[in-house]
């Protein structure tokens, strides 16, 4: 499934915002790739740079305030070097995006069907009625019952789950190759969340596309992602196949996330939080960005930044701890605590 050439490749991406208080290092030296049929889960806390990364891919950052460096390759073209009108063709047609709050993304005064039809006509020269038919077809495809009638509804007549379905329909208008979903289920109830995650997965398989799923919820990642990138303070801390992140996590930050997450399986004796709070990106700490909160920090951590490097028999990880030491900590402490048996 993942043997083909990458669909999207991000190389050494850095995003800096110039603000009144100084320069914010939102994303630093980020590299990853996405293949067809893959779901890349990007997980991190607020301010970790996960949304900024997706906005950079979509070319939605205002270059007047943001410096974007690096390369974003899609079909052999560097999106960061494309002129605006060519980028517009890619955006919404080849790469599309859905957001957290589907209500804020739909115009309250236009019928849902009309808004989707408008998206059809933005990139294709078709008649209004053909565009409307396509909108109805897509609404049906994403599971809106009685789509021909419901297309005439206004957004407020849709429930939260239906609005997110409508947004997904809109994103699918031009059969994109890449779908970026930024916290698509955070605003939804758990039973509706299950429906939407299932829909995104169906869409991925049916249209054979690549999905980037951004979330703060490790449970969502576990359920949908084939690969996971854990971000902290604008950097990738760990990157690998999803099952390995849950059965053999390598980075102390990932351990921290896993340990601090309550589970529905059992009541834990005590949750182990990550002490402190994420660093200010105006002035990121030297060395490993996680070192001020890391339980396992030692001598080189506060002045030498560990590179994101492959580890033996596995994925990528940015930490100074030796592979044996990490295996030991995982086996004796973290895995035991979490009851991981795999």
């Amino acid at each position: 499934m993942s043997s083909t050439a990458p669909l999207l490749e991000v190389r050494d991406l850095s995003v800096r915002f110039r603000t009144r208080d100084g320069v914010v290092q939102a994303v630093s030296n980020l590299s990853f790739m996405l293949r067809r049929g893959e779901t890349l889960g990007v997980v991190g806390e607020s301010g970790s740079g996960k949304s900024v990364t997706s906005l950079a891919i979509m070319g939605l950052l205002n270059r007047a305030h943001a410096d974007v460096e690096g390369e974003i390759f899609f079909e052999g073209k560097d999106l960061l070097k494309l002129p605006p009108d060519e980028l517009r063709k890619v955006r919404g047609q080849d790469i599309s995006m859905i957001f957290q709050d589907p209500f804020a993304c739909l115009h309250p005064m236009y019928r849902v069907g009309k808004q989707i039809a408008e998206a059809v006509r933005a990139h294709a020269d078709v008649s209004k009625s053909a565009a409307w038919d396509r909108a109805v077809e897509l609404l049906g495809a994403v599971g809106i019952p009685n789509a021909a009638v419901r297309a005439r509804d206004f957004p407020h007549q849709f429930s939260g789950g239906m609005r997110q379905r409508a947004m997904i329909a809109m994103a699918l208008v031009h059969n994109p190759d890449v779908l970026i979903a930024d916290e698509p289920t955070t605003a939804l109830d758990v039973t509706v969340q299950a429906q939407i995650l299932e829909l995104i997965d169906d869409v991925k398989r049916e249209f054979d596309i690549g999905v980037i799923l951004i979330t703060h919820d490790l449970g969502v990642i576990a359920e949908t992602a084939s690969h996971v990138m854990v971000m902290y303070a604008g950097r990738a801390m760990e990157h690998g196949p999803a099952h390995e992140i849950f059965t053999a996590a390598q980075h102390p930050y990932t351990w921290g996330l896993l340990e601090s997450m309550p589970t529905i399986e059992k009541r834990l004796e005590i949750l182990v939080p990550i002490e402190g709070s994420p660093p200010s990106l105006l002035n990121p700490p030297p060395g490993c960005p996680f070192h001020p909160r890391c339980k396992y920090r030692f001598e080189p951590c506060d002045n030498k930044r560990p590179p994101l490097a492959p580890i033996p028999d596995g994925h990528l990880d940015a930490c100074h701890l030796s592979a044996e030491r990490k295996r030991e900590i995982w086996r004796d402490r973290i895995a035991a605590e979490l009851g991981v048996t795999a």
Partner: protein, 359 residues
Amino acid sequence: MSAAAGSPEARAGHGPLVELEHLTKHFSVKQGVFSRAKGVVHAVEDVSLAVDRGETLGIVGESGCGKSTTARLVVRLIEPTSGTIRFEGEDISRRGQRSLRPLRRQMQIIFQDPYSSLNPRKSVGQIIAEPFAIHHTEKDRKRRVQELLDRVGLSPEHYNRYPHEFSGGQRQRIGVARALALQPKLIVCDEPVSALDVSVQAQILNLLKSLQDEFNLTYIFISHDLSVIRQVSDRIAVMYLGRVVEVGSAELLYEHPRHPYTAALLSAVPRPETNGSSGARQRIVLSGDVPSPVNPPAACVFHTRCPRFQQGHCDVETPALRRFEGDQEAACHYPVERWPMTEDELRRPFGGRAASGSR
């Protein structure tokens, strides 16, 4: 508090701290220029619950299920339409605002959004000292506030800072300190960690736990997050469309949910498969959306989405809460016999309708 208040037994610390009996809250929907009443939102419908001293009652459910309204009714921020709220054995559901005041010291609330629940124009010291000002207590307020700051894990030097200088987790700590100020017996936590990142969420949950142990606090903990509820609660009530559909000890409810709605909720939670043995898990996907509380379905409110729906029974006869082993209760004609179950198994209620008639 007046001397006559409460039975001697309840005051002495026996019996539940809070009891709700047939509590109901309707909001009228108004429309048009003359604000004519167009309908009634059945926000909370016939809820009966009891909360023991020192325990945490979790209330869980999806948006619009009435969990926050229930919380607000308990602390009398809104008026109940009917039913009784008892605090330490005393009926407080009809008390006026003035006579409620002494009681307000006993019951505090922590809100979801640490950004909008703190006045941005007041310093942290003023915010936490405000309960003292309102209730005219405490002489050495500054010292007391600094103690509280220290207890919730903030530095006493933060006394003169303003809310915007703090992160979300720190703000929630300020909210906790304010709730603790008057040494209440009951704290209602309304989604206190929903706006926080996981690592910070764990800090706040641990803080609430240690405060409970130290001050023997009673919590009513509202959340939509089933993992958080499991972590904090001794007992759990599951709400759907304003009704309690299931209630029981946290352990039993998660081990063996009896109501199909609870079962569907539990199965819908996305989670890592860290445990190779629990491979039997299957998601039960509920179709459709929660119906409107203006016009809730007849009889069992869950029947429109229920995988075990039996026509002519579930939509005709309202199920009462039935008792199971270990004081677990569920309002269902066809309770879940065992757990886990696949969706297909769940769809075939054991015995079907004929068997249920003999019960």
